[in-house]
Symmetry: C2
């Protein structure tokens, strides 16, 4: 796993994006139940759809979509599409690597 420290730092240097990351630590506690409208039951792995995140962030859909993309490109989030919805969840692997990188390389 390679850490693009600049990309990650840029992604983390915004309050809302930081909040999204924290909120997704506890999806059940921070968001309404997900996947209720899906025809087939799917394991969403704690993923949350864009509109739930958008409602909590209180920013426009396009901005939130953009933020989620930024976090994903930095490797901090994973996304999975089911029907109309895109579910985003944390990429714990990257977070672990990041902590390790800071401890040993930085």
């Amino acid at each position: 796993m390679d850490i693009d420290m600049i990309e990650i730092s840029k992604a983390l240097s915004n309050e809302t994006r930081l909040n999204i990351l924290k909120w997704l630590k506890d999806p059940e506690g921070n968001f309404p139940p997900q996947g209720g409208c899906l025809s087939e039951p799917v394991d969403l792995k704690g993923g949350v759809c864009v509109s739930s995140i958008q409602a909590k962030a209180n920013l426009s859909p396009s901005t939130v979509s953009n933020y989620l993309d930024t976090l994903q490109r930095a490797g901090l989030l994973l996304s999975e599409r089911h029907g109309k919805w895109t579910y985003y969840r944390r990429n714990e692997k990257t977070l672990e690597c990041l902590a390790e990188y800071i401890k040993t390389e930085l």
Copy 2:
């Protein structure tokens, strides 16, 4: 110790600033001997003066001075003035707290 994650992330989202932080992990290996012009011998604690860093970064003095200030305001560097020179060194405490913060809070 409180971590201002946004301030720190902004400071880290620039290649040169990231390099400065890494260079300062090994001051003896990366910079010429420091403090040679001081009248009294002082323990510089691995600190490196601005002009040495500027020479290695290959940017203008004002830019480098600015970058060092940014890193210091984020708590990542410490500075100490001796005579005409300002010696900058890493603030390991913040780095440790940062890694810990990412592991537990983020």
